[in-house]
Every structure is written in C-alpha cells, then in structure tokens.
Subunit: 331 residues, 6 copies
C-alpha cells in the first residue's frame, strides 16, 4: 500500500466535505493533487511514479464517487501520463509530463467559461430575443460578452422552481444592463414563438449528446424544438461524461420536499407526497449545438470530444463501475 502525503489527504478531505464545491473547482483540485504527488515523490522509477499517481487517483475518486468532473480531471492527466510512459521516456520526463498535463487541465478549466462566452457570443445577433432557464455561469458569460460587444438583445428568464434561480439570472443580467423579462416556468410556450434562440447550461453531457441540466430544461428544449427555435447548450468539456460510453446510467438527485411546499402545508395533506428531482435529461434530438471551450459541436459529436480529451478509456478501467449522481453544487 502506497503512503499518501498529508497535502493530498487534505485536498481529498476538502472535496469530500464539500469545502471545495462546483464542477470546475473540484476537477482542478484533483489535477493539482496529481501534480503535487509527483512533486513530492521520492521514487526511483517511472513505474513506481505511476503507482503513486494511481494511489492518489484512487483516493480522490472515493471522495465524491458521484461527481462528473473529478474523474475527468484524473483521466485527462493519467491519459497523458500513460502516453508518456509508453514512449519510454525517463522518470524526469514523466514527472514533467504529469505536471504539464495537470497545469494544462487547470488552465483550460479556468479559461473555459471565458472562452465559451467568446465563442457563444458570436451566435448572438442584434435584435435577438433569447430565452434561458435556471442560472448558468457559461450562459451568463455568453450574454455578457455579446452585450459588451455592443449587441442589442433581450432575454427571457424562466423563474426555475423550486429554488427560483431564474430570479438570480434576471438580477445578474439586469445589473449588466440587459433588458430581461422574468416569467413563470409554465409560460415558456406562450412566449416561445417570439424567441430567436434558447441557451442553457449543463451539469453533464453524455456520450450520445444528451444533456443533464436543471429540471425543466428538457421541456424548454421540447418547446423550442416545436417552434423551430435553435436550442444551444453551453458546457465545459470536463462536464462530458465518458462513463456513459461504457453504459453507466446517470442518476438524478432527489431533493428535499420542503423546497416544493412548506412543511406545515404538506402536513394538512395526508395522502400527498412530494417528488423533487433536481435535474432532467434533454435528448440530443432537441439540441442544435453544444458550445464548449473547444468549439461548437452538434450533440452527436459529444463522443468525439470525450475521446479527444480523455483518450481511450477501454484499456485501464480504474473507475469503471462507478455510477454518477448529478447533484447541485451550489451553496
């Protein structure tokens, strides 16, 4: 059994206790832990180094067995480590390759939102009427970038029950100066015919291009599809889920009933139960494009992104049997 340093254990602990939150931050922490592993390592051979890295990887994977971005970070780094190892480069080169891969992942993640904002903003046109759901950092980046480029457009935000994240979106956009209309979730079809585009974020993207996002997203996609309104999803590549390539189903978090109805009211209805799923799955046929920091792809090309970013996943299946639970990381 490998000995694991205190620094690594601390990072693992912080991810586990949700001190580190959010898909991007969790992933970057994991990449950093791998980088620290080689920096601290005192081993004498490449093979030993890889064993240490795998020990760290195993520890990290256990902290949040249901996150999407965490194994992606590990897979991204380890894929490049193994490529280096196969080239029979020496210990020092392997060390270097690991640090570089971790840095590249962290840097790319850090810039992903900004880059998605730039790429997505090119699709916003003067006079557009754009509808969005929930509150997404990448969608906000797209809208803000376009607005700062001097484009004139309007946004419709659905309130996003039960937690009203749509109000947060409206408040944010309002602060930028973007004219925004807030509506209840049930009113999206009433207004859809007047929309030019729909844009939403993603919590995860599966191998076949389906998108897991806040409950109600798939309805907005269906309604947009019905009215021939282009439906765009913004998603960092670390949210693409390679496990789905191997058949892993996606599990959806069930949240507390008190979000839907006050408990005192619920007590008055003895035969009533509450169901409160946090996300739903939008099938690829309702999605026109996915905007990533690597470019814009049709959903059917999701599998290509997964292969390019995370390599062949059939050789070493360290984390294969894990099931993903998509959950809300917001405080």
């Amino acid at each position: 059994m490998m000995k694991i340093s205190q620094k690594i254990k601390d990072i693992a602990q912080d991810i586990k206790t949700m001190k580190v939150r959010g898909a991007g931050k969790i992933a970057s922490s994991a990449a950093k832990a791998l980088s620290i592993t080689v920096q601290e390592s005192k081993v004498k051979s490449s093979d030993e180094l890889v064993m240490e890295l795998e020990a760290t990887a195993k520890l990290l994977l256990k902290t949040r067995p249901t996150a999407v971005s965490l194994p992606n970070a590990i897979r991204y780094v380890m894929h490049r480590v193994r490529e280096a190892q196969e080239r029979n480069c020496g210990l020092e080169d392997l060390r270097q390759a690991t640090i570089e891969a971790a840095s590249a992942f962290i840097l790319n993640s850090a810039k992903a939102i900004k880059r998605i904002g730039e790429i997505g903003a090119r699709r916003i046109e003067d006079g557009d009427c754009i509808i969005t759901h929930c509150n997404s950092a990448t969608v906000t980046a797209v809208l803000k970038t376009a607005f700062n480029q001097g484009k004139s457009f309007k946004v419709f935000a659905s309130e996003t029950r039960p937690r009203f994240q749509g109000r947060l979106t409206a408040e944010t956009l309002s602060a930028f100066g973007i004219p925004t209309t807030l509506i209840v979730d049930s009113a999206i079809r009433f207004f859809m015919a007047k929309m030019d585009k729909a844009v939403v974020g993603a919590d995860a993207v599966t191998a076949n291009g389906a998108v897991v996002n806040k409950i109600g997203t798939s309805i907005m996609a269906l309604v947009a599809h019905e009215s021939q309104v282009p439906f765009f999803v913004t998603a960092e590549t670390y949210k693409f889920s390679p496990e789905t390539l191997l058949g892993q189903p996606v599990k959806i978090e069930e949240r507390d009933s008190s979000e839907v109805v006050p408990l005192e009211e619920l007590r008055k209805m003895p035969n009533v139960t509450i169901k409160n799923p946090a996300f739903d799955i939008t099938p690829p046929e309702y999605i026109d494009l996915i905007i990533t920091e690597r470019g814009i792809i049709p959903p059917q090309a999701a599998v290509m992104i997964i292969k390019e970013e995370f390599g062949s996943i059939t050789t070493k299946e360290l984390w294969e049997h894990q099931t993903y639970l998509i959950r809300d990381e917001e405080p």
Copy 2:
C-alpha cells in the same frame, strides 16, 4: 327604448361588479334574467316580447363583454325563442318557450359538472397514473366519481405557478383519500413517461377545438403528446366559444407582476419586467378528447357542439363584434 325592470338591472349589476363569479353562475344568471323578462312582461304581441328580450340581452352583454359563457346563455335561449317565433306560435306559447329554454339551460349547467364526472370516470382504469394541471371542478368530479366507484389510481398534480392552484388540487384529492403526488411545473416531463392519462379543465373551447386554460396547460399537452399519453379536456358546453366561428380572436388576461416575484425583490432589478399571462391556448392536435356533459368528442367536433347548442349564428348577429378576454373568475 325599452324600459327594463329593476330585477333585471340588479342581475346585470351583480354580474358587472363580479358579485356573481364563475362561468356557470354568470351564464345561469343571464338565462334567469331572460326568464324574468317574459314573466314580468305586459306586452300584447310576440314581436314586442322579442324586442323586450333583446333589450335585456343587450344590457347583459354589456356587463362583462369579455366572458364566454354569458353570451352562450343568451344565445341558447334566444335561438329557441326565434325557432318558436318562426313556427308562428302565439304570445303565450312564446312566453312558455322562453321560460322552458332558460330553465333547460340552467338545469343543464347545474348538472354539467356531475355529468362530466360520470362520463369521464368511465375512462379511468384501475392502476392508472393520471396527471393534471391547476384546479378544475370538472377534473375533480371525474376523479372523485372514479374513486367512489372503487377504482384504484394515483394522481400527479403540478403546482401551477404563480398561484399554486395545484396545491389546492392536491389538498382536495387528499381529503377524498386519493394518493396524490405534488410536483413543480418543470418536472412534468420527468414523470410523463409513467403517466397513463392527462386530464385538465378548460376556460374556453374555440370552434376549431383549441382549448384555453391555465398557463402551462399547452406545455402539459405537448409533453403528453410527445410521450403518447392520452390528453383529455373536461369542458361544459357553455364554455364553447361560437364567436371564434366568426373569426373573433381570443385575448388572454395579463395578471399582476407581484404574483410572480415579490415587489421588493423586483425593485432591485431595474432592467427586469414581468410577464404574467393567466392562460395559454392548446392546439387541437395535442388534444385527444373533450369530455362534455353531452358526451365525449374529438376536438375537431367542437364546431358541431357549437352548432347544436347555439344554433346558426349567422342570421342575427347581435353580439358579433365583441372580443373575448379569458380571465380568472376565482376569488
């Protein structure tokens, strides 16, 4: 100019001031006013009697120019008055025909909900999972009747933002003993694949079988259509809108923004406006059947119900140029 009695004026005033509320009660009051007109009348000829009736009709039509059921009541009675007049029956027979037509309309309206409950309940089967939206007296009648017949089924109720009428539905069904699940409006697609039927009420039905109902209804219809779940609408015949035969568009009530977001919160968002339409329109292609007290029809037969109940509307077009505004009559 006709002299109109105080009794009639009082009824008109009660409708105008919303002391009388609800499509059924408004319509019955109007029918009653026509009955009173002939009972109080002192005229000597059929022609004079019809003139008095038309004066009453005109007064009533002005009280709530935007209601659907009110002109239906008048049209129902006057259609039969004119048929009698064309048969050249005498004054007394005409008087009698008027009173009978008004009574028939009132009686039919009173029994409509119960009758819809009976007819609709036949479509509920043991083991069904049924989804509904908002809070409808006719839907409740269908579910209660089926439950009292010993059928075992479950109901999903969407909460129906902004006014949460779905909670009211859940509470009512819970009191009957029907197992009910309450969900946010955005979650209906998440659960639709498990539903066997969707049933909603109606505020108005147009000549081509489109249904005006609480905002969000058309989304539930679209989602049910996508999943091949049969979508039923319950509607009393006095909610069918003959004016749409003549091209009258339907207007939708815009309600107060405070229903959507607390005003103090809204004030913090200077660039945000609220849109709060109370109803939407479900196209006939998403509706499988309309359950009326006269039987179950496909939406395309709505025009037939209109012709049967209210006669040829092209001959005397007393109220033709009116535009309907569908509004919420609940207290």
Copy 3:
C-alpha cells in the same frame, strides 16, 4: 314484466349461442326481432307498444353484451320509434314506423358491403399498388369492384399471424385474377415505400374516429403514415360505436395461446407466457379516410355519423353501462 314470444326468444338464443355470427347478421337479427315484436303485438296503445319493444330490446342486449352492431340495430330502430311517438302518431302508425325502420336497417346492412365496394373502388387507380391486412369482406368488395371495372393494380397482403387470414385474402384475390403478393407481417415496412394505398377493414369505429381491427392494423397505419401512403378504412356504419361517446372504453379479446405456439413447444419453456390480443386500436391521426356505405369521411367526422344514424343518445340510456369487448366472430 312483459311476456316475450317464443320467436323472439329463439332469435335471442341463436345470437347468444353464436349460431348467428358476424356483425351484420347479428344486427339484422336484432332489427328483425323488433319488427316481429310489433307484428305479433296485441296491445291497444302506443305506450304499451313501446314498452313491449323495450322488453325485446333488453332481452337482446343481454345475449351478447359485448357486441358493437347489436345495440346499434336496436338504437337505430328505437330512435325512429321514439321520433314517431313524439309526433303523437297513433298506434298503427307507430307499428308501421317500427317495421319500416327495421326493414330500412336490414336493407341498408345487406347493401352496405356492395355500396362500400362501389364507393371505395373510385379511389383505386390504374397502376396502383395496394397493401392490406387480414381478411375483410369490405376490402375485398372494393378490390373486386375496381378489378371488374377493368382497373389494373397489384395487391400486397400481409399474412396476419397468428391465424394467417392474409392467406385467405391472397387466395380470394387470386381467384378473381388480381395479382397478389403475400408477405410476412414484419415485411410491411420493407415494401411500404412502393405502395400507393393501404386499405383495411374495421371491427369497430369509436366516436373520435379510432378504428378497432385485427392485431397489426395499427402498425400498418403507422408505417403507411411514416411513408405518406394514404391509409383507408372500410367500415359499415353499424360498426360505429356510440357508447364511446359516453366514455365507454373498448375491451380487446385475448385469444388462446395455442394460436401462437404449439402447446408441446410451450411446455418446454417454463418461464414463458403467451399474450395473444386479437385486435388493436388505430388512432385517428394515422387514418386518412373511412369509407362507409353513406360516403367517405375523415375519421374526425365519425361522431357525425353516429349522431345521424343513431340519434341523440343522451335522452334514454337503456344500455349505457355496457362495456364492449371486440371479438372475432369467424368460425
């Protein structure tokens, strides 16, 4: 309690014991029984005559509570009896009206297949390629009539498992000289793109224009719809089911498992069960036209045929609570 004559009882018995078979023959027997009732009657008043007719009707309805055509025959005659009664015609006129209504029904039923053949044949064009399912007398009539008119066309018949009625169709058409291709049911999509029309019969037609017919019909309709091949249904009006106007669901006969797999083979599979439903339901959106002996209608006008042929069914609901089971009447 009415005394019922032996002749009527015999007819009832013959229907009950399936000595009389087939929708048309059952219906005609019932109409004849009503005619005999008035011919044998010794009553002195119209009201008594109607009571006797209703007693006969009740007896007949009990013999095959699940047939579609039987109550239609009774409803057809009784609708006209009551119209006569409401005109306050005397006993003799009522007697006459009953006999005439029964005769008209029987005559119409007898000519229905021939008439459907004539009307349907007008839709067959030189060079057509026509696909059909199962074995229907009305479809055969259409094809034979068109062939006798000198039209040149080809027919594809699906074999119609489990009982291979498609072979019967092929044999019949072959005997007429019509070039016919026999295929397995699974091959219909393979050939559909080359078809010009699809024509099938019906066991029952519901108020919303759905068609109950041999299992597999709804698949042929779906496949035709996918390929934009017009889908025609031939149906005598006595197969239209007014009960569905009042919400009565249609039940489907489950037939013996030995039709699907030989019992000795089934015994070798302890965890295998057989399901063998005899019919399925084709929704109106997959049906282009229904060819009846009264003309060609879109499925949405089925409710109109029901009203015209069988009158208002809301007044006297003698047979309302009956449930229909569509079953195979072939020997």
Copy 4:
C-alpha cells in the same frame, strides 16, 4: 325527352364555351337557369316540374363536367326543391321554393367574398407579417378589409411561377397602400420564421378538408407547419366538393409547357420534357382553419359544411359518376 327552352340552352352554351368563367359566375348561371326553368314552365303538376328541372340540370352538368361549383349550385337548389316536394306542397309553392333557393344561392355567392373578407379580417392583427401565394380574390378581400379597418401589417407574396400571379397580388396590394414584399417561390422557407400567418385561397375543398389550390400551395402549407405558422385557407362554400364524399378523385389540370420554358429553348434539349401541373393538394393536417362565408371551420368540419349546404347526397345520385378536373378559369 323534355323540351328545353332557348334561354336555358344559351346559358349552357356560354358556360361550355368559357364565355362564362370563374367558379362563382358559373355557379350563379346554373342557379339562374333553374330559376328560369320554373318561370317558363307550363306544366300542371309538381312531378312534371321536377322532371323539367332535372332535364335542365342534366344539360348544365354536361357543359363543364369537370367544374366544382356548377353541380354545387344545382345540388343546392335541387336539395331544397326536393325538401319542398316531400312536404307535399303544391305546384305553386314548389315553383316559389325553386326561385327562392336559386336567388338565395346567387345572393350568397355574390356576398361570399365580401363576407369572407369581414370574417377573415378579424384574424389579422396589428404588426402581423402575412405570407400568401398566387392571386386570390378572397385573400385580397381579407387583407383589404383589415387594412381599411386601420390595421397595420405587412404582406409577403410569392411570385407563383410559371404565370407570376404573385406579381398581380403585389400590384393590387400596393395599390391599396399595403406594404408588400415580393419573393421567388423558393424563398418562402427563408422568410417563414418571421411570418405570423399564411393565407391562401382555394379552387376546391374535399370532404376530408384537403384543399386544391395553385401549384406550390401545399409547399407553403408544409413550410408554415414546420415553423408553427398558422395556415389559413379562404374558400366560398360552393367550392366544397361533395363528390369526394362518394369517393370521386380530384384530377389536376396539366398546362402548356411553354409556360415553363420558351419553346425555342426547349427545342435545344431533346431529352427534356416539361411537366406543368396547375394545382396541388394540401392535406388537412397542414391547414389550421378554413374561412368560409358561413364561418371559420377546422378542415375536418368540411364534411359538415357539405352536408349542411347541399343536403344528403346519397338519395338521388344524378351526377355521381363525374370526375372533377380542377382547372384555371382565369382569362
């Protein structure tokens, strides 16, 4: 054999030689001929009068065996003649009933365009963008009426190859002052997303609500359907085709190849043939509403209009075996 007066023969001749053109004028001429028949008649009994009328009817039907409106006019009058005859009214009453029916038909036809203009205009809203195809008197009436009511809207007209009737539409609307954009037929999908409504006329309407109109209409309907743009058809009731109830197919006129390409150019292409069908058929599922002078109906209610206007067509089938050829009546 009946003797037919010169006046009647002249009318028949004028229809035959296309001196009388246009669906409305042909129909009115036919109705007038029936009226003249009774005015000139010297017969002594009702039965003889009906025989004379039928002789006139037969003569007229032979003049243009392929027109839609002509048999409708005859059917409209004769339906009312036979109703009168069945009431056993005397010769003079029958004569009167015939004249009245003919007048009513002629008057209704004359006012139909204006009435359709009024009803249809109610569906036009301020700010609308409306697309139309070819050149239709009823569509022009709708647009002009709405414009005269002060409504502000824009029209897109497709040029309608091969004869460029769209230019005529543009010129007419321009003369009214309505802002109009002229585009090639191939550009309709490019602009459809910005349209609020599509409105076209009709040459014929079949029993199942399909619309026969200028070639390209069905493409506009399909494209509107794809973009969820409501598609309206304006059609006088005398264009509804009862023969289709009895299975008569509709034939489409094939026009001269020189309309498509100059003959000298065609001569340079020895292996090229021209196809130039004048009309196509729009299926009812792509049509939202049909605007007639009797009100607005969904296409599925076309069969109802046919029954109401032209009576039961199954009893006397004078003209049954005729096939319709829809052709261009413009000079």
Copy 5:
C-alpha cells in the same frame, strides 16, 4: 503470381463452402490466414511480405464476396501492416506486427460478445420491461449478464416470422430463468407503451449508423420511436461496414418462398407470388444507441468507429468495388 500455401487454401475453401459460418468465425479465420501467411513466408524483404499478404487477402475476399466481417478482418490487419511498413521497420518487425494485429483482432472478436454483454447490462434496470426481436447472441449476453447481476426484469420476444427465431429467444431466456412473454410480430405496438427499452442485434452497421438486421427490426424501431421507448442495437465492431463510406449500397437476401407459405397451399393460388426479404434497414434516427465492445455510441458516430478500427480506406482500395449482400449464416 504469388504461390499460396495449402493451409491458406484450406481456410479459403472452408469459408467458401460455408463450413465456417457466422460473422465472427469467418472474420477470425481470415485474420488467422494472414498470420499463417507471414509465419510460413520465406521472403527476404518487407515489400515481398506485403505482396504475399495481399495475395492471401485477394484469395480470401473472393471466397465470400458478400460478407461484411471478412474484409473488416483483412482491413484491420492490413491497416496495421501498412502503418508498420511506413515506419520503415524491418522485415522481422513487420512479421511481428502482422502476427500481433491478427491476434488482437481474433482476441477482440472472441471477447466482443461477452464485453457487449457487460456494457449493455449496465443499461438494464430493476423492474424493466424489455422487448426484443429475432435471436441475437449479443442481446442474449446483455440480458443474461444483467440477470446474473441479480437484476429483476421481464422480456417480450416477438416470434419473428417466417422462421420463428423469437421462440428460440424465449426458450433460451426461459432456461436462464428470465420471465419472458412471446407475442406475434403484429402485436408489438399493442404492448410497446408498457416497454422501458427495446434491444436488438445487428447483421451490419453502415457508415451513417443505419442498422441491417432481421426483417421487422425497422418496424420495432419505428414503433419504439413513436412511443419514446429507447431503442438499443448491439453490434460487434467487425459488423460495421466501411464500404458504405464509399457509397456501396447494401443488398438484402431474398429467401425461399416456402418459409412463408407451404408450397402445396401456394399452388392453389396461381396469381400469388411470395416476397421473403431476410433483413431490413433501420435508419439512424430511430436508433438511440449502438452498444459495441468498444463502448456505447450514438448511430451518428458509426463513421468514427469505422475510421478508428479500420483506418483510412481511401489510400489502398483493394476491395472497393465489392457489393455486400447481407445473408443469414445460421445453419
């Protein structure tokens, strides 16, 4: 002209005479033949070795010019041979590379069914109701693996006329202890609404993700699509057809008419012919996922699998002009 050893000729003969049957076994034999070629080779240069390999390849390709897996095996090995050759590795290395590529292909093929079973089983959930068609080794592997994992589910098997392979499926599943329901092919739409998943095998997969499989598969896919039931295909990668990238159409085997109807019965129908295509083609839009031993992909990524497994096919087009005939390999 190359001299070819007796061992290779024997393998070629066994494939030709159908002594070797089944896509997997044929492919492995071909790979083995290439391996033997280098093992027996006495040449002195890389170029000569490649020439010998190409001679073997040509011989093999002629044995069964219509199989899909056979050229895939050759292409897989030769792609790696040429890569080695381009790296200018020596004769011995080239020999080694060939043997390794052949071994890898054979090993992968041998494990493909098991691996598909593991990956596919992850998609099976407790309580699932799964429908399948025909009899597929990979589908059986998926179901058996899931069942052995303790998952509880039910299977519906369609009998698969004309050869009733569905009975074989039922018998196999029954032997495992999996509760199975056997139905006629025409009943699949009757039960589809209750299914959670549909899973079928494949005989070939084209570059655009279309699937060639037993006749009736495309109907099951269409019906599943209509009811929003996910439709999965299991396919080993050697069944992907690179030729379709170059435009080669797929031909379908026409089997004997006696499979459809006994010959003595057919003789009684002189105007009847039988059509008995063995396969049909399911378009990619009806397929949700393809489960391969390399992971799960959307059908649109089929082209990616082809490129990854078989390399660029545009450089050396040895077998380009071949046409594929998909045929039944079962004894």
Copy 6:
C-alpha cells in the same frame, strides 16, 4: 513588415477582382501562392519562413474575406507547416513540407469532383427517379458517371428561380442523353412521392452538418424528408467551414431585385419591395448523407471532416474573427 513578391500580389489581385472565380479555383490559387512564397524565399531560418508564409496568408485572406474555400486552403497548408515545424525539422524540410502540402491540396481539389462523381454514382440504381435543384458540378458528375456506367434513370430538375440554373442542368443532362423533366420550383412536392432520391450540391457545410446552398434547397430537403425520400448533398471538403466551429455565423448574399421582377414592372408598385437572398441553410436533420471526395458521411460527422482536414483550429487563430458571406461565384 514582410516584403511580398509581385507574383503573390498578382494572385491576390486576381482573387480580389474576381478574375479567379469558383470555390475550387480560389482555394487552389491560395495554396499555390503559399508554395511560391517558399520557392522564392531567401530566408535563413524556419521561423523566418513561417513568418513569410503568414504574411502571404494574411494578404490572401484580405482579398475575399467572405469566401469559404480560401481560408481552408491556407489552413490546410499551414496546419502541415506547423506540424513540420513542431517536429523541429530543418529549413529545407520545412520548405519541402510546404510545397508538398500545397501540391496535395491542389491535386485533391482538382480530383474532388471526379472522385465525388465515382462515389456518388454507386448510390444511383437502375430505375431511379432523381430530383435535383440548381446547377451543381458535383451533382452533374455523379449523374454522368452513373449514366456512363450504363445505369438507366430519370432526373427531375427544378428550374431554380430567379436565374433558371435548372434549365442549364436540364440542357447539360439532355446533352449526355439522360431523360430529364424540367418543372417549376413550386411543383417539387407534387412529384416528390415518385422520387427515389434527391441530390444537390453545396456552397458551404457548417460544423454541425448544415448545408448552405442555392435558395430553395432547404425546401426540397424538407419536402423530401416529408416523403421519406433520401436527400444527398455533394460537397468537396474545402467547402466545409471550420469557422462555424468557433461560432461564426454564416451570412447570405442578397442579390439584385431585377433578377426577380423587371424594373419597369416594379416601378408600377410603389409599396412593393423585393427580397432576393441567393442561398438558404438546410438543417442537418433533413440531410441523409454528404458525399465528399473522402467518402460518404452523415451530416453529424461534418465536424470530423473539419478536424481531419484542417487540424486543430484553436491554437493559432489567425483568421478567427472573419464572417463568411456565401456568394454566387458564377459569371
């Protein structure tokens, strides 16, 4: 600032002044200019050479900032230049790599049409009826190749208003001896049910597989989709637009109004404007296959072609902010 030779300047000028026309010729000129740059270069280091190449690239990109093929040529060459540079090859090798890349691009472009003709012809079958729009060199190549192979088929060509390029297609095919039918654009739906395939060219293909082509193409695709007629697009890979990966929208050329209506006629219509877009965009869901010189792909694999041909475009974004205007290059 680099000094640029006169030869390069001349090429740039010829492209700018449209002396060089057509996507293929423009692209080849650009590749040639890069080749000339290195041939004329007198620099001493690899880095300097790359700087010279970039200067040439910049100059070329400015000549026709809206063409699709021009930056593809540059990107193709420069991608290979940078790969060589990264391998740290010396100056001479870099020079060689540049010349080879330019030659390969030019050669591939020159053979692309012929190769597409060969690949596409395999999809043409005896007896086919094929519809096409506008006049495309690649479509002509496909049809001519198939015809020369002895295949017997018919072609329908839509005339393609406003410039009647369909007549040119008809003339060309007629000269080959291919039986061709010329129709107006509005008639394509009338004939579509009889078509077996639709084939059109492309002016550009976006990253998500949408196709920019002559106005009306998207209507033909929609109509083909409705009738389940396979819709093929032929496109050289240099027409694939990598910029769309980065969010660049495609702009459509608006052409002169005199193409639509003669100016003297337009003057008579003061309220009429003309819109004359030259192209429209066909969404990938209406396209079955794209036939390129590299093979046949589903539209969703367009992104794969872009990556393979032009490399990763995220590293050096020389021309990123450019917007494409698709315009007509024909004289």
